[in-house]
Symmetry: C3
Amino acid sequence: MADALTHHPGTPLNAEQVAALVDGTLEGATELFFEHVSDLESAMANDVVFFRAGLNEMGRGPAQSELEAFAKTAAGLLLVEEGTDVDGRVCIRVANPGLAAAQLAQHWEAYIAETPMGVHATAVVEEGAEVDISASIGPHCVIAAGAVIGAHANLVSGVHIGAGSRVGDACVLNPGVVIGPRVDMGKQCVVQANTVIGSAGFGYVWSGSAHVHMPQMGGVQIGERVEIGANSCIDAGTFRPTVIGDNCLIDNHVQIGHNCKLGRFVILCGKVGISGSVEIGDGAIFAGSSGAAGHISIGAGAKIGAKAAVTSDVPPGATYAGNPAVDFGLHQRMQVMLRRMARQKN
Amino acid sequence: MADALTHHPGTPLNAEQVAALVDGTLEGATELFFEHVSDLESAMANDVVFFRAGLNEMGRGPAQSELEAFAKTAAGLLLVEEGTDVDGRVCIRVANPGLAAAQLAQHWEAYIAETPMGVHATAVVEEGAEVDISASIGPHCVIAAGAVIGAHANLVSGVHIGAGSRVGDACVLNPGVVIGPRVDMGKQCVVQANTVIGSAGFGYVWSGSAHVHMPQMGGVQIGERVEIGANSCIDAGTFRPTVIGDNCLIDNHVQIGHNCKLGRFVILCGKVGISGSVEIGDGAIFAGSSGAAGHISIGAGAKIGAKAAVTSDVPPGATYAGNPAVDFGLHQRMQVMLRRMARQKN
Amino acid sequence: MADALTHHPGTPLNAEQVAALVDGTLEGATELFFEHVSDLESAMANDVVFFRAGLNEMGRGPAQSELEAFAKTAAGLLLVEEGTDVDGRVCIRVANPGLAAAQLAQHWEAYIAETPMGVHATAVVEEGAEVDISASIGPHCVIAAGAVIGAHANLVSGVHIGAGSRVGDACVLNPGVVIGPRVDMGKQCVVQANTVIGSAGFGYVWSGSAHVHMPQMGGVQIGERVEIGANSCIDAGTFRPTVIGDNCLIDNHVQIGHNCKLGRFVILCGKVGISGSVEIGDGAIFAGSSGAAGHISIGAGAKIGAKAAVTSDVPPGATYAGNPAVDFGLHQRMQVMLRRMARQKN
């Protein structure tokens, strides 16, 4: 166990090794060894930093404060684009400095989080559960009968896996994660602490005198490389699984209702709430605290603004904002008009 | 333990047995046995499905896609209303097909979730706690001194019950649920995973130099047959308990502040936030992500729209929407007017 | 363990002892002993209550119902301001009755929650972790290698402390709290159940074919006397820690993104969502369900209204409301104008 939980420093790399790892071109020479990616302001000589001199996705260049921080950084190695003036300092030229930094940080972080093998003495593995010999089942985990845990999966501590569920190879489930019954999770997923997947959906039928719970037996089907934040909830489907496609990114405090179907590469930012039976196309993005009413369809590539409340279908590629959400252009005009009128009336 | 966590298939029933269970009338004959309720599209021959040909609560009939799915379903047994044309297929006529399906699914689901008895070897039951001999205390649960666990209660795993709290008969507390001290929960409640009940409310007094916490000693009083979703919070009252009436339905990520008083049959959908000291009358409904400011009163049967922010008392039976929430009719007129003006100005 | 989880009644105090504890002046005499603070309506003879006859922070005096409750209360001892007419009953005059009540309740509550010492037999303390001999590590806690637990800290049950993290003296971590790696928490903090601190922030770089996770290695730095509610999340910073200043109050279901910097005495009410890299000045207040977009700055003492969505910098001391949030005065005029127009058009 000790290895899994201990913070090791990463293996130091020299500048040539860093260049090879990020597939870049080294300019200049240094005898230093590096072991951390850092930011411009707090970097020390044996840190690597990244800087993007050109325009970002929003068409904006670096702020004055960033330019100054870049000029003054104490970092011993810079990850920069072709053409960026480095004032004679040692640098590595790459196509995408941010990506190179992420790859490098992952290299060191992965070393730190090296997965231990085996089942901790305090974990409870029910008869009939299958745990791969290379998986790590940490303290106080519970694996119910019929569950299957894949190779190199890492259940850190206090994780509950329900009956008949499958955790794919190399998944990381952080402390307190609860996976209900009938959940199928593909390989290389990461779930942050205290998130609940496969809880019974909110489905009731009024009998005339009380609400009768409709059992939610469909479970959840999660693709590969899905990342889910902390304290989020994905409810089990009623008859068929709630579906989360490959490569979705789901932040903290997100709620996904029963019977939803998310495509691939969908991004749900913090506190997003998706009601039941919503379909979301590939690559759609919900900004923080936005939400969708039940039984609607969000087209591929659609963008939903922060705190927006979507109440009807959204076409592919559209941008919606407001409550109730409307096309972003209309929303902007409404806001501008309203402010102008309110100011005039005073 | 194995029984509690294993997914058994339900006991197969023949068509006559299904008809008896849902109090309906069988038309036609089949030798098949059934063991699942399913939906129209994915049903197989030994599945039961339900279909509602008439108008639903919103005055709408089935969509074209539903009519087609009903025509094509491979299900071997249909639950339908009187008068629905089943094209010669085997069916059971009932007053409410959805309700019949829920009852049937509960029958099979209940079999699956059959409660085991006893206290798991890894659970910690403090001296002075009382656990009924028919209750199930799963792995890694903690029952503090003075707590009382009723007959057939099922604490699945990792559940914490605080000092002096009571869990009524046949309650189901899912993994990671935390019940603070001085919580009284009536019978047949269901709490989904990682929900927190009886945490200290957010009450402070400014001393002139710092916020001094007012201890929240009132606990929580929960009625019977209350259902609470995952990752929700109900805070303890300051001097008297926060009260949740019988048959309330509370979804995921709901927050109920200290000293609130909910009547019976109140429905709070996902992500609803109720500030402290709010009174909510019987049968009121808060749609997803709506909320109420503190110290106000929501009348019985009131309906609050999704993402609405209620800041003052709401009369019984009223429907409110918007932020700040106003009467639904006024809200609609404001929205329509605003959109019309914004479109004209371009 | 038993002491930590058992509800003891507080030590009874006589009126002179209560007066000394709250630094007030006793008027009248009683032979009763007191052991609870209560509210006006439910108090019994041996309870203490508080009442504020003057104007509160909002410039309002007590409601008629409160005046009546004060006239009729059965409490044996009243905490009141100078000049309040008590109709001959026994009272203690103090500068701030609410504060006196909180101090008194804390006295009794503290007795109740007296911290036990030692490590429960079911807790897992990794080699290389340091636990102060006066700390209490409850059932099923996990303390990773390199973690440090301070004097009189109380980890109630099922708490996970990540590698290299520090929990300061006299902190209370309630059941199911998860502290990730590289979290530094000052003394006397209180964290309610199932909250997650130091989870990986939501940071990704698009590679051209997939989102690559930027490891979040900065951890979280939490000051002293910070109180955090249940089911909340504070994400780890990317390279430098996310910072929470001394004396902040954070309610339930609050999300604080990576790289945020909160000053001292900041108040975040229930369900507030703060995106990444937001700076919040001392004493700023976010009301329930409000939020801030990433990379903006909220001035010291600013007030953000319930459900407001702040999308740009807010000056110190300003009050903002609405979605998108604007100055409160403008927001109010917009609302009033809109309602008037909507009513006229009908």
